[in-house]
């Protein structure tokens, strides 16, 4: 009986720990500058900003947001980033991509760019800019290996912080119709008692999910 109580207590403590680490805090901030709506035949392209010198928006995050926007109610047709950038080559490379809507206006005077944009049915361009960084690393884990086996002991923890901005450009009116910002933080733990047990806060995944939901509503005009 004593053993059973002890096991239950340990199980509860582990469950509580998992629940605690599963928590990430996400803040979404929306700034609307124009009316939006999208027809069934129109699509959205999500592009990562890659102009900064010390970081670049990961294509996996861009893909994640796009993939989530194609799911569920009011889903939106998304043009894959690489397919769009390749088809538009060399106009959407890091050095040549439009930085302001004024640049897009100038770019659309190129017949080949305007034709491609029509072919894809792009109504909105979403520029994603941001990154996830790891801060406050603490603790240590040591692993040993010997003829009898191997094992790790220790405890490590770190905090992840994700910050992404999404600027939405209307290709019809060639204006910036709004900006959605997302901030997400979460603490991850790595206790190791023979085997390391990673309890990871899914900070970037949460930022992606919340941003995609907000973007979908924004583009649909709701």
């Amino acid at each position: 009986m004593k053993h059973a109580i002890g096991r239950n207590r340990l199980g509860l403590a582990l469950l509580l720990l998992v629940l605690l680490v599963s928590c990430t805090t996400t803040t979404i901030d929306e700034f609307r500058q124009g009316e939006t709506s999208i027809e069934g035949h129109e699509s959205v392209v999500i592009l990562g900003r890659r102009q900064a010198s010390d970081y670049e928006t990961r294509s996996e995050f861009v893909e994640c947001v796009g993939e989530r926007m194609t799911r569920g109610e009011n889903s939106i047709s998304i043009v894959p980033e690489q397919e769009f950038v390749d088809a538009m080559f060399p106009w959407f490379e890091p050095r040549t991509a439009p930085l302001r809507t004024r640049d897009l206006e100038r770019l659309m005077t190129e017949a080949v760019v305007a034709d491609r944009m029509t072919e894809f049915g792009v109504r909105y361009i979403v520029w994603l800019d941001g990154f996830t960084e790891t801060t406050d690393r603490s603790g240590s884990i040591s692993c040993t290996i010997g003829p009898g086996g191997a094992g790790c002991f220790g405890f490590g923890s770190w905090e992840d912080y994700a910050n992404f901005d999404a600027r939405v450009w209307d290709v019809d009116s060639l204006t910036n119709v709004g900006t959605i910002s997302t901030d997400a933080t979460g603490q991850s733990y790595l206790p190791a008692f023979v085997i390391p047990i990673p309890l990871i806060a899914r900070v970037e995944a949460n930022a992606c999910s919340r941003l995609a939901t907000q973007l979908k509503d924004f583009v649909n005009g709701s």
Binding site: D54, R58, F89, E93, R95, R116, P147
Partner: protein, 208 residues
């Protein structure tokens, strides 16, 4: 003294092979051959026939990155990828493109111009050295354009830059390749869009 059991001997042998492999990988230079595909630029073609001469300085170009202790760390070969890049870019820029083996061969063809690019400088920045979470590559080119007779038209410098973020399950070699491909795309975009803006090229085009 007791003899080692079969399983124990096997384990020791595995451990020795593992250690030997570690030593070998630690001492050797990693060869990286840049590989990738390049899209065709969406630009207006110039009504010109151009002969292209790929100098061995370009086709056989390799860059060696040394470790802080002075050992060869990475040997990067990018010659073939440059040929693939120009093969995708030049036919989109000119009506006719002929690849030649020498300048003399090009002179005999009576083309409008001869184009001969070379690499002047290559730089690699690894996260382990810069402490940034990106791999970076800079390449400096010398673009040479000559008349069908081999006379000078233009000779200009182009730099290209590419970077890629660090990723946990990607090898250094794969990251170097990814950064190089971004740099090559950067070269293609700036070369194709700025070609007619080079003052000497502009002057020459006005005389045609």
């Amino acid at each position: 003294m007791s003899r080692m059991s079969g399983s124990m001997r096997g384990r020791v042998r595995t451990a020795l092979i593992f250690i030997a492999a570690l030593y070998l990988t630690a001492c050797g230079v990693s060869n990286v051959v840049i590989e990738g595909s390049f899209p065709t630029p969406n630009i207006n073609k110039l009504p010109l026939t151009v002969a292209v001469y790929y100098d061995p300085v370009l086709t056989e170009f390799t860059y060696i990155e040394y470790s802080e202790t002075g050992n060869e760390e990475y040997n990067i070969a990018s010659g073939q990828s440059h040929i693939e890049l120009f093969s995708a870019v030049l036919p989109a820029m000119f009506d006719g493109v002929i690849v030649v083996d020498s300048i003399e061969e090009a002179e005999a063809l009576g083309v409008d111009a001869i184009f001969a690019p070379i690499i002047e400088e290559f730089q690699l920045a690894l996260p382990a050295k810069t402490k940034l979470d990106v791999y970076e590559i800079w390449i400096k080119y010398n673009m040479r354009l000559m008349t069908a007779e081999g006379d000078y038209i233009a000779d200009w410098v182009l730099t290209s830059y590419g970077k890629t973020p660090t990723e946990s399950l990607r090898s250094v070699e794969a990251a170097i390749n990814a950064a190089a491909i971004v740099a090559l795309r950067d070269l293609a975009s700036s070369f194709s869009l700025s070609f007619t803006q080079v003052p000497e090229v502009k002057d020459w085009l006005n005389t045609l």
